[in-house]
């Protein structure tokens, strides 16, 4: 069942993305890791679409891409604004709110 490989790959990518969110400091990189997670999902969706023999999965992948693009727009705007204020894109520097 070769499809399993795709799924496993997607899971690995998802995990890499998730771990990346945890270990990377740069907000942009963190964000990219999240994109990676989304795209691993896309892979999963397409794989399942293939498995079930419908195109639903593929269509969903398109939806995800569109949403991800919107997310990029919003995310970059936010990150930019804080970067301009702080001159730093490290997520660890944004640490005024706590406890």
């Amino acid at each position: 069942m070769t499809l399993t490989y795709y799924l496993v790959l997607a899971a690995i990518l998802f995990t890499i993305g998730a771990v990346g969110v945890l270990v990377r400091r740069n907000a942009i990189v963190v964000f990219m890791c999240i994109e990676l997670m989304l795209n691993s999902v896309n892979l999963t969706l397409v794989t399942f679409a293939r498995a079930t023999g419908t195109v639903d999965g593929q269509i969903m992948a398109f939806f995800v891409m569109v949403v991800a693009a919107a997310e990029v727009v919003v995310g970059l705007a936010i990150i930019m604004s804080i970067y301009r204020t702080r001159r730093s894109a490290s997520v660890d520097d944004a640490n005024l709110l706590k406890y």
Binding site: L45, F48, A51, D56, V67, E71, S81, R84, T85
Partner: protein, 518 residues
């Protein structure tokens, strides 16, 4: 020849109102002259949300909903009774939140929102703008989009729509969290955190969606139930369910997915916090209810222990962590986490296949909690010092001596949040606890009552400060609210009392609305 999908315009009218208003808002932003922009935007926003609210009610009142509701938009949306109730709740609360957004009388700079979000905080230009009376009006269309997303969210009949709605409601929220006029650094930090964590959470949701799709071959909620009901929950389904729920619990700020809540609630502009606390909670729980009721109603015994566990964790985390908070907004954030736990006891009351009274109870609780918390945040906007809102607890000492009415209204909301009888909070709590006990979850209710006792401490502490402490010498001033805030306070306070003393009609409505289709 492709058939046009069946669209029930009547059923979609509320959504159209809101999204339409949002689009018009964008156009207004682009074309209307600056000096009329604010009133026009406010009018558009109010018409959008208010129209959404009214049209929901009109639809519910005029349509024959004996079948529970209708599935429309090619099966994407389930405009059913519960969905309508939740939509109306969201739209109603959003209308009130829009009024808070529109308040111009409190801040000397005439608005709670930053004049130019692109200007770096702390720069000379920013300082110049901080005192200028220039207002910025993007928040209205943004908020309207969020409201639209929420209203789709609670009626989404398939997982993809739910995901899209999740993003539609989230993305504008990320943005407007960062738009505070004062303490901009905090606001921006809140936005970043909210955005990164929110995106992270939606990735989980999405992966869950993919797994469920893989396991069942469908993303329609009703079809998922059929598929699951046939062959039981395979590992993929269970894993998918877990990830979907994680994504939703994040939005509902349920521990252990709550960690963004205090930071964002504290950092965001208070009207936005109020909006989030009230509307997002309703939307997120609406989606949770629908997901668990429609798609996994037959899998009750799978998700039950999960909800049981996170409910306990959430109540304890919210109640215990709230004890030592010194910032009122942050305290209310922890209170919101605790309340998420209480709401989950209601979710547990859904029972097998939604037979329990949990749906009605949770919906009612959402309404009462939304009103109360909205009111509480509205009071927060009144108490100010030179640097904006005076949200530090110590600044509230002796407030009752300065402004008895403000203190009284705040006291009412706090008592309601604590669940004291004759306030809406009690009725809601009673309803969800009853639903949970009916499903045999009395140990959970026991934990819940103990947690509410702990939580009561920090609500009481505010009352102690307001009423029983001598006023601080250089205490904050209590602003005179303009008409919008006054309306919000009046409506929320009246509703908090009314739903505590005579909740019958609304309870009955929730009871009759407690049906999902799909």
């Amino acid at each position: 020849m492709i058939e046009a999908p069946d669209l029930s315009l009547a059923a979609l009218a509320p959504l159209l109102f809101v999204f339409g208003a949002a689009c018009i808002g964008v156009l207004v932003e682009a074309f209307a002259p600056r000096d009329v922009r604010h009133p026009v935007q406010v009018a558009v926003a109010l018409v959008g949300t208010g129209g959404g609210f009214v049209s929901t009610l009109v639809y519910a009142a005029t349509q024959d909903l004996s079948a529970g509701g209708e599935i429309t938009a090619a099966g994407a949306l389930a405009v059913d009774k519960a969905g309508l109730f939740l939509q109306a709740t969201v739209a109603g609360l959003a209308t009130l939140a829009m009024l808070l957004f529109a308040e111009r009388g409190l801040d000397p700079a005439r608005s709670a929102f930053v004049a130019a979000a692109a200007v770096p905080a702390g720069s000379p230009r920013d300082r110049e703008l901080a005192t200028a009376t220039r207002v910025q009006t993007e928040v209205y269309p943004l908020a309207l989009f969020a409201v639209g997303g929420m209203m789709v969210f609670v009626t989404a009949n398939d997982l993809l729509i739910m995901f899209v709605a999740l993003e539609v409601l989230s993305l504008p929220l990320y943005l407007i969290s960062g738009l505070a006029r004062r303490r901009r650094l905090l606001s921006q930090e809140a936005a970043v955190k909210y955005f990164l964590l929110g995106a992270f959470a939606s990735a989980f949701f999405l992966y869950g969606l993919a797994l469920v799709y893989g396991a069942t071959g469908t993303i329609r909620l009703g079809e998922i139930r059929e598929a699951v009901g046939e062959d039981g929950g395979g590992t993929l389904v269970v894993l998918g369910l877990a990830l979907l729920v994680v994504g939703l619990l994040f939005k509902a700020s349920v521990a252990p997915f709550h960690s963004w809540t205090p930071d964002v609630y504290q950092g965001a502009p208070t009207p936005v916090t109020a909006f989030m606390a009230a509307c997002t909670k309703v939307a997120a729980f609406g989606a949770i209810l629908r997901l668990l009721y429609v798609a996994f109603g037959t899998e009750e015994w799978t998700w039950r222990p999960l909800i049981y566990g996170v409910a306990i964790v959430s109540m304890i985390v919210g109640a215990v962590l709230g004890l030592t908070q010194t910032d009122l907004k942050r305290m209310l954030a922890y209170s919101s986490i605790a309340h998420a736990g209480f709401l989950l006891t209601g979710v547990l009351g859904l029972g097998a296949d939604g037979e329990g009274s949990g749906l009605a109870a949770t919906m009612f609780y959402l309404l009462t909690y939304g009103l109360t918390t909205l009111g509480a945040f509205a009071v927060l906007t009144l108490v100010r010092d030179g640097d904006g809102e005076a949200s530090h607890l110590s600044q509230w000492a002796g407030l009752a001596a300065r402004s008895p009415l403000t203190a009284a209204v705040m006291g009412l909301f706090l008592l309601a949040l604590a669940g004291i009888p004759l306030t809406a909070g009690f009725t809601g709590k009673f309803a969800v606890f009853r639903a949970a006990i009916e499903e045999g979850a009395w140990p959970l209710v026991l934990v819940a009552v103990l947690a509410s006792a702990v939580a009561a401490f920090f609500y009481l502490r505010v009352i102690v400060l307001m009423y029983f402490s001598p006023p601080a010498a250089d205490g904050p001033t209590v602003g005179v609210p303009g008409i919008p805030t006054t309306v919000v306070l009046a409506v929320t306070a009246a509703a908090t009392l009314a739903l505590g003393i005579l909740p019958g009609a609304v309870l009955d409505l929730a009871e009759r609305a407690a049906i999902f289709v799909g």
